[in-house]
């Protein structure tokens, strides 16, 4: 048993729903108790879909348990089939139905329906949402893909885009455009917008583009093994990664990787002098593995940040994540406990966080700017406007998204210059966040109460700050102050200094100068 407040991922049947909802002409019958329909609103509200997810629930209740839940399941499958007339169905159990041990696959088979019925086996007590999506997509492809000749023209499939995917809608558009510029047509994009009939013709493509390893890698591997389709390993998020991706595609197809970069502005934006202040900004990255690893490369190579923390919540990708972190001189944080992430962020003291919705809230709590780079996300990250992460337009979007939360260069300079002014002192807050400027607390020499109990410190011979040093610390801009405090204390500890003075502060500053 594990006490949990927030989960990065839902249960695996939500992953299956993401695949079913992404597709057309497919229907999912889920053996699940009353109440599990809550998951519908993730699709209708967060993704703002205008149709109900193609999912029918058995919604069994307590009184059904003594009776015939298997019969209820069969009736539900038959009714859903008759009502929705799908090209194919998937059937499975949620966590509770897994315990009552009806066999959805076997039960559905006995009905002899006139469409393929694909059973799903999703272990709810050991796996999670991404696994559910990956496994469901794999099973659909395995059951439906048919051997066939390759298309005459060079074509590929796009694998892994689902419902409730972070920017999947626009990534698909952007990658499709980039491939078209190379002369490559998309055969099938799946599961997003694909029908079961489309899945059947996937083997006609020359190769596969794996957009999201979390939700498409198993299918990519199976298609490679069974239908000899190679698949791309580079995820085209960031300018460098997009160029590498195009080179990889060129190697697979013999076509030229050079496509027009006329809409690509991110490199010049990053080179322009206003971006100089971004140099060495300390950034902490935590997200799903694919987006976190892509972000790490962009941060380090394309924007010039210093990556001070890197990790992911999906254990399936712990190995490549650890390898990348090691190359960057870091230890990867692999956890699905947001309290651990919060502690790691507080310890690293970054100037910016790139993460999920949870890290956004952590950032708010710690007063650190944050940009969202991966699921799970709230409704605002399913925007109305075109906002891909992949390809060259994705690079433009990423530059804007990451830089906006930071105080802009000139603004930062002015804030430091005028920080004692009534509008700009620490407690005033940002004007665009609706905060009201309030008069600074310490107008004269009066110091705020020292957070540390000095008398006790002296007794125990532990560190304490002299009032002058504490006052000097206050002059450092608030967003680097915690780090300055920590560095000074660490430095003082190594020197055996217990009373931290203004000199100690500046000696530490010189010591840690980069």
């Amino acid at each position: 048993m594990k006490l949990t407040l927030w989960t990065y991922e839902g249960p695996p049947h939500v992953g299956a729903m993401r695949v079913a909802t992404a597709m057309e002409g497919l229907h999912y019958v889920l053996h699940a108790p009353q109440g599990d329909t809550y998951a519908d609103l993730l699709f209708t509200m967060i993704e703002r879909r205008g149709a109900r997810p193609p999912v029918t629930y058995t919604t069994f209740q307590a009184r059904d348990l003594g009776a015939d839940t298997a019969g209820l399941f069969k009736d539900t499958v038959r009714a859903a089939h008759d009502r929705f007339q799908p090209q194919a169905m998937i059937v499975g159990a949620s966590c509770t139905a897994e315990l009552i041990q009806d066999d959805p696959g076997g039960l559905a088979e006995t009905l002899g329906l006139d469409c393929p019925v694909i059973p799903l086996d999703l272990p709810s007590y050991s796996r999670k949402e991404n696994f559910g999506a990956d496994e469901t997509f794999l099973q659909i492809v395995r059951h439906l893909a048919r051997p066939q000749a390759r298309t005459e023209q060079v074509t590929c499939n796009l694998l892994g885009a689902t419902a409730l995917g972070f920017r999947h809608r626009d990534d698909v558009t952007e990658v499709t455009r980039a491939l078209a510029a190379m002369g490559i047509k998309v055969n099938v994009c799946a599961p997003l917008n694909a029908t079961p009939a489309d899945i059947a013709r996937m083997p006609a493509a020359h190769f596969n583009v794996l957009l999201y390893p979390e939700t498409g890698e198993s299918a990519a591997r199976w298609l490679e093994k069974t239908h000899a389709q190679p698949w791309t390993k580079t995820i085209p998020i960031g300018v460098g990664a997009t160029r590498d991706f195009l080179v990889e595609v060129a190697a697979l197809t013999g076509l030229s990787p050079r496509i027009p970069e006329d809409g690509l502005r991110a490199p010049w934006w990053s080179a322009s002098v206003d971006s100089t202040y971004l140099t060495g900004k300390r950034v902490f990255i935590f997200a799903d593995a694919t987006h976190a690893m892509a972000a790490a490369r962009i941060a380090a190579e394309e924007i010039g940040f210093e990556v001070v923390g890197l990790g992911c919540f999906n254990r399936e990708f712990a190995r490549p994540m650890r390898a990348l972190a090691a190359r960057m001189g870091l230890t990867a944080l692999i956890t699905d406990d947001y309290l651990e992430v919060e502690a790691a962020i507080a310890a690293a003291g970054p100037e910016m966080i790139l993460g999920t919705q949870m890290e956004r809230h952590i950032g708010k709590r710690l007063g650190i700017p944050c940009a969202v780079i991966s699921s799970p996300v709230h409704v605002q990250d399913f925007p109305a406007r075109y906002a891909p992460q992949m390809g060259f337009e994705g690079a433009n979007v990423i530059f804007d998204t990451w830089v906006h939360p930071l105080v802009m260069g000139l603004e930062e300079h002015l804030l430091t210059m005028f920080r004692e002014d009534p509008e700009f002192h620490d407690a005033a807050g940002a004007s665009h966040h609706g905060a009201k400027a309030v008069a600074p607390v310490e107008a004269s020499g009066a110091l705020p109460p020292n957070p540390r109990d000095i008398s006790a410190s002296v007794k125990d011979e532990v560190q304490h700050w002299t009032p002058e040093a504490e006052r000097e610390l206050k002059k450092i801009p608030f967003f680097v102050r915690p780090k300055a405090r920590r560095n000074t204390e660490a430095y003082a500890a190594t020197k055996g200094v217990t009373a931290i003075t203004v000199e100690t502060l500046y000696e530490a500053k010189a010591h840690y100068a980069r």
Binding site: P33, G50, A62, L65, T96, I100, S124, S126, H378
Partner: protein, 422 residues
């Protein structure tokens, strides 16, 4: 308003009972508002990742405000041997109590998985009560989907608290149901002005203010979904003051009147206390009725508030209910409401696909439904009011009557505003 409706009274209307797919929340959702009401309590769900995910989806951003609820997620090893699960639970609870020393009351909340594997949370609560005696009171109830629908979670929680209430011989009035603090204060002020009392609340805001109960206790229900709590109170010998529920001017007045009668409040005093707020409520509702009068409305089942709300909208706002769905119809508690509701189709339970077919035929002006249905219906051209807001928002008693009508008028006004856009 239109008290001259041609046909009134649904007491004998046959109810359409349906079984099939239900598009409803489970009782765990009640935790979201209950934990706010009882700041010294913690709600520990014993369940699966699905339960945790549900709470997260339902609580939204609230989850980051140091919520006093969480899920002990069952893992594979817990399913292998049940003895193990009890040891695990004890450990997690001990850790939780240590981390949150401000917690005075802990609810172990059963879920579908814990019910199906028959994890005995009642015994676990007893055992933990002994272990943490004097520091924390441990109670248990089920919020599982197989047993409870949405607001029935609050019912189950309150019913679990009743046997633990101390006994008294005092003749007190117990007011039952969780309300937003602001509304609760208005209710207390009205009753106090009539000289009714002493007043006790269930749930109380703090465990120290827990009500006592006995044969001389009279109680009134503020919410319609408290069937199990009603039975538990009866078993403790308390007597029920039957009334319509305090929605709208008429409902609030009838509710107060039932209590006033029971406590021998004179008509003059009742009139003196209620005249001004009644006028205010009527005026506030009137400002919304232009939008609502003559419009038809269709309720999907959700919270058991549907019947009282349909009664308010029909009688005070001039709307025409076409179908009023409720997840569960407690005939005894609902009788005063049914008497007032104009004749309409009543449905209990749900087969969502069939109900959607009926909706298409009825083509109402406004549809009250859950968030899983609202956007899909909007995209088909229906106008919807999402039902959950009616549970979270302050809607009871006089001062909220205008807001309550406003919640239904807003989607219609918006539709008119955006007409040129579509």
């Amino acid at each position: 308003m239109s008290l001259d409706l041609p046909t009134t009274g649904c007491r004998d209307v046959p109810v359409l009972k349906e079984r099939g797919q239900r598009e409803v929340f489970c009782g765990l959702t009640g935790i979201i508002w209950l934990h706010r009401k009882m700041p010294d309590s913690f709600f520990l769900v014993v369940g699966s990742r699905t339960c945790a995910h549900l709470l997260q989806a339902a609580a939204g951003v609230m989850i980051f405000a140091e919520p006093r609820f969480g899920t002990a997620i069952l893992e594979e090893k817990d399913l292998a041997g049940l003895a193990d699960a009890n040891v695990e639970l004890d450990r997690e609870v001990a850790r939780l109590i240590e981390r949150r020393p401000d917690i005075r009351r802990l609810f172990l909340v059963g879920s579908c998985p814990s019910e199906v594997i028959k994890l005995d949370l009642a015994r676990a609560a007893e055992r933990l009560n002994a272990q943490h005696a004097g520091r924390v009171q441990v109670l248990n109830y089920s919020g599982s989907g197989i047993e409870t629908t949405f607001t029935e979670g609050e019912d189950a929680a309150l019913a679990a608290m009743v046997p633990a209430l101390p006994s008294t011989e005092a003749a007190e009035l117990l007011l039952v149901g969780a309300l937003p603090d602001v509304v609760e204060d208005q209710m207390v002020a009205l009753l106090t002005a009539m000289g009714v009392g002493p007043l006790r609340l269930l749930p109380a805001r703090r465990i120290g203010d827990t009500a006592a109960i006995g044969p001389n206790t009279r109680y009134a229900l503020i919410q319609p979904f408290l069937g199990a709590t009603h039975s538990a109170l009866q078993r403790r010998g308390a007597s029920h003051i039957q009334a319509p529920f305090p929605f709208g001017e008429e409902g609030t007045t009838a509710w107060l009147k039932a209590i006033a009668t029971s406590f021998g409040v004179s008509d003059e005093l009742f009139e003196a206390v209620t005249a001004a707020p009644r006028a205010r409520a009527r005026k506030a509702v009137a400002s919304q009725t232009a939008t609502l009068t003559g419009k038809s409305i269709f309720f999907f089942p959700d919270s058991q508030l549907e019947i009282p709300l349909a009664r308010f909208l029909a009688r005070e706002c001039g709307m025409r209910p076409l179908e009023v769905g409720t997840p569960y119809l407690h005939r005894e508690l609902m009788a005063p409401e049914l008497d007032l509701l104009p004749q309409t189709v009543l449905s209990e339970g749900q087969d969502v696909d069939l109900q959607l077919d009926r909706l298409a035929l009825a083509a109402p002006d406004l549809t009250v439904c859950g968030l899983g249905l609202a956007n899909p219906l909007e995209s088909q051209g229906f106008t919807t009011k999402w039902a959950i807001e009616l549970v979270f928002s302050p809607v009871h008693f006089y001062e909220q009557a205008g807001d309550l009508a406003g919640l239904f008028a807003r989607p219609l006004r918006r539709k008119t505003l955006l007409e040129g856009q579509r």
